[in-house]
């Protein structure tokens, strides 16, 4: 009962504050990416070629994204109830993997943010780009 009251109170506060854009329930399938390298194109940014760099950037606290099959980038702000989005160990473990996740998407000012409720499927790294692009960025 207490938790129900807290939930309702939280919802009322959120409504009162008019917090943020409306959520869209989504299921997203795509590659977990280093969003900064991908969006700046400072180097080849996908798959196994970029995996080590993606780990560096995620551990350094750069936002992690999911690039879906239509080219949409979702910036991950929460995963499986954990709102730690700075070097989150769960996210580090699935960096560069192809995953299917379920959660809420929020679009604001041209960026789509994602809170992940659950990772439905983890295919591991399937984008085998290293044979073509080597190891990015330093080749080692």
């Amino acid at each position: 009962m207490k938790s129900l009251f807290a939930t309702l109170a939280g919802a009322m506060i959120a409504l009162t504050l008019g917090a943020g854009p409306a959520a869209a329930r989504v299921t997203v399938t795509g590659e977990v990416i280093d969003s900064w390298c991908y969006l700046t194109e400072i180097m080849y940014p996908l798959g196994s070629a970029h995996h080590q760099c993606a780990i560096w950037c995620a551990a350094g606290g750069i936002p992690v994204g999911i690039l879906d099959d239509d080219g949409q980038v979702y910036i991950v702000l929460k995963i499986e109830g954990d709102s730690n989005s700075v070097a989150n160990p769960t996210v580090l473990d699935i960096q560069s993997h192809r995953v299917t996740v379920e959660g809420d998407a929020f679009e604001r000012d041209g960026i789509t943010y994602l809170t992940i409720d659950r990772v439905i499927n983890d295919e591991g790294i399937v984008n085998l780009t290293a044979d073509e692009y080597g190891i990015q960025p330093f080749g080692e």
Partner: protein
């Protein structure tokens, strides 16, 4: 003589090169060098009203809301392979002057922070506090080579690379020749 010295000193102050706190180009795609005032916010708080104390204490991605109400996520600081949360956390809820780079690509604009100060006239900080924090956490000097190449020396990263390899395909798996 005193008046001459005073005038000379004032002229020297006026015309001497000022300390540079202006962002440098990184030759990013769709790059624009910018400086603007904005409030530091916790992105989740701003989006869904989930607002812990102190913007999540360094555990959450932070952004900037400018005078037009636009939410600008901050993806990067001035340290190789590092984000900007450490640089902005001290200013949670405050208005700062942010100096850095917009980069627009694939219809998305992101921001990389190079310098920051509390608006309107706080002391400029280079956005490299990440290194100091990393060095303290890992027991090395901030100016050491270990800190400068923090990404090769971070215990979490080393453990992940040892487990999964540089390509993420297993230890020792390398690109085909």
């Amino acid at each position: 003589m005193k008046k001459f010295l005073l005038v000379s000193f004032a002229a020297a102050l006026l015309y001497a090169p000022q300390p540079s706190h202006a962002a440098q180009s990184w030759d990013l795609i769709g790059e624009e060098i910018v400086r603007f005032d904005a409030q530091v916010v916790d992105l989740l708080c701003e989006l869904i009203g989930d607002c812990p104390e102190n913007c999540g204490g360094g555990q959450r991605q932070l952004g900037l809301v400018n005078a037009e109400g636009k939410l600008i996520p901050v993806f990067k600081n001035a340290v190789p392979f590092a984000g900007a949360v450490v640089e902005l956390l001290d200013f949670c809820g405050k208005t700062v002057t942010a100096d850095g780079l917009f980069s627009t690509n694939r219809g998305t604009t992101i921001f990389s922070l190079q310098f920051v100060r509390e608006a309107p006239s706080g002391k400029w900080r280079k956005s490299n506090r990440f290194l100091r924090k990393w060095a303290e956490t890992n027991g090395v000097e901030v100016n050491s080579n270990a800190a400068k190449t923090w990404f090769r020396n971070d215990p979490r990263i080393k453990a992940l690379i040892a487990k999964d390899g540089k390509l993420g395909l297993g230890p020792g798996v390398l690109p085909a020749e």
